[in-house]
């Protein structure tokens, strides 16, 4: 068990190091996130819709699409270098492979979110002093869910011809429950509502994570088998 | 005296026509594809 985890970390570290060297996925995703935030601001009528009303949706749409860009690029880069096939020839247990890939994707997406969040605070003028820990926690909870699904769908999409289109088409329906939950919790956090009002949504996020991380991990071996 | 129900017959007709078109259209498409693939005998 501990061996598997160590192996997963090695795989994750390899991916992260490769990305740090080329930086393409992180860069594209970050620029994308910034652009989305800017567009959200200009696409709203300030007299009709206040920044705080729009803020949770803007933040989460940004996170969702930027995450997709990041996960897409990470698999495409790998395919271009044929790295996945090399890994499969080695006797790597598939569970560790999935965990490693997922951790790497989580690291990418977390990095993009970490850049997008300050931009969000800046552009939308939100006061996050009290809500920040809650927002980070919610972001972690929701992100784990859709990164798990994105990791396995990415592994499938990369074997198809229109990989860049296939991943969003498959993934977007699966992002909706974590997205709805995250937006609902975020808007309540920003309005400083009591925790009891968010419990239903937080439970939804947690159960989603448990179910889909497990499912994705189990199904991964069927996707990469030869 | 109970009020007359609203005159929504047009919508009903539209819905039945649309549903019928989709179901029959799909049926015809299945028939056409089946005929095309089953038609050729041994070459």
């Amino acid at each position: 068990m501990a061996d598997g985890l160590r192996l997963a970390l090695v795989i994750a570290a390899k991916d992260v190091r490769a990305e740090l060297r080329s930086k393409t996925a992180l860069l594209s995703a970050t620029v994308f996130a910034a652009l989305v935030l800017v567009i959200f601001n200009f696409a709203r009528d300030p007299t009709a819709l206040s920044a705080t009303d729009l803020a949770p949706s803007a933040l989460w749409v940004t996170f969702a699409f930027a995450a997709m860009v990041a996960m897409n690029r990470s698999f495409t880069v790998e395919r271009e270098h044929g790295a996945l096939d090399g890994l499969l020839l080695a006797p790597v247990p598939r569970g560790a492979l999935f965990t490693g890939k997922m951790l790497a994707n989580l690291a990418f997406v977390a990095a993009v979110e970490a850049v997008a969040l300050p931009l969000f605070i800046l552009f939308f003028n939100v006061d996050l002093s009290r809500a920040l820990p809650g927002i980070i926690g919610t972001a972690a909870l929701a992100t784990v869910g859709f990164v798990a699904v994105g990791t396995i769908f990415g592994a499938m999409a990369v074997r198809t011809r229109f990989a860049e289109l296939m991943l969003p088409v498959l993934l977007l329906p699966f992002m909706v429950p974590p997205l709805i939950g995250a937006v609902q919790v975020t808007s309540r956090l920003l309005a400083a509502r009591p925790l009891s009002e968010m419990m239903g949504w937080l439970r939804l996020l947690a159960v989603y994570d448990v179910v889909f991380v497990t499912l994705a991990a189990l199904a991964f071996s069927f996707v990469v088998e030869e | 005296m109970p009020a007359e129900p609203p005159a929504t017959g047009g919508y009903m007709v539209a819905a039945y026509v649309v549903a019928g078109t989709i179901l029959l259209g799909y049926f015809l498409s299945l028939l056409r594809r089946a005929k095309r693939i089953l038609k050729q005998r041994e070459r």
Partner: protein, 240 residues
Amino acid sequence: MTGLSGAAPVVTLTRARAVVRRGIIISSIALIGIGVAAILALGFTPIEARQGLAQKIFYLHVPSAWSALLAFSLVGIAGGLYLWLEDPRLDLFAAASAEVGVAFAAVMLTTGPIWAKPIWGTWWTWDARLTLTLFLFFLFVGYLALRAAVHDRHERARFSAVVGIMGLLLVPFIHLSVYLFRTLHPQPIVLKPSAPSLPWEMLRTLLVSTVMFTLLYIGYVTIRYGIGLAIDAREQSDAG
């Protein structure tokens, strides 16, 4: 058992033909049955006082939603069984069920707005059933797109099975999200024609329609499955 070189295995094509024929018979019976149900709905069922004639869309809308959900559930279940048993017939069935499901989902998603407009004044309501079926539609489309994009048959079967199972497990989460969303954002009170206090004539017509729609699902899937068998037979003879 192959026929002459270059010929499709005769046994398999013959079988495909028989399956398609059976499917056509079942579908024809079902289509006539739906015609009967429509006549029942239009001529022999009372008109609902608050909605008028548009309420009769209900007898198409609900059964088609049920067929779409049935189709999708079976795609997921067949996928799971395929991963376990590796029987290619399960994959063939799943592909057929997905395509047929799209047709029924399309009926539901078109009759829904046509019904909603006169009753609630808007073309689209984010109610639980419509929203769920919309998601089913997207999941079906994604599933079929993936199948079209993968060429190796074993890979295609495995990938489809994974997406099918995950999609099926997504359904309760969508339902729950919509439910939570609506209880926290109260929508205007809507009419509930499917409430238990349905007069028996309406219930009877609904049941007849539902049975016939289910039969149509079976018929269409049978035809589509037969087509799949024929495609397989041809691919195998082309390759061999």
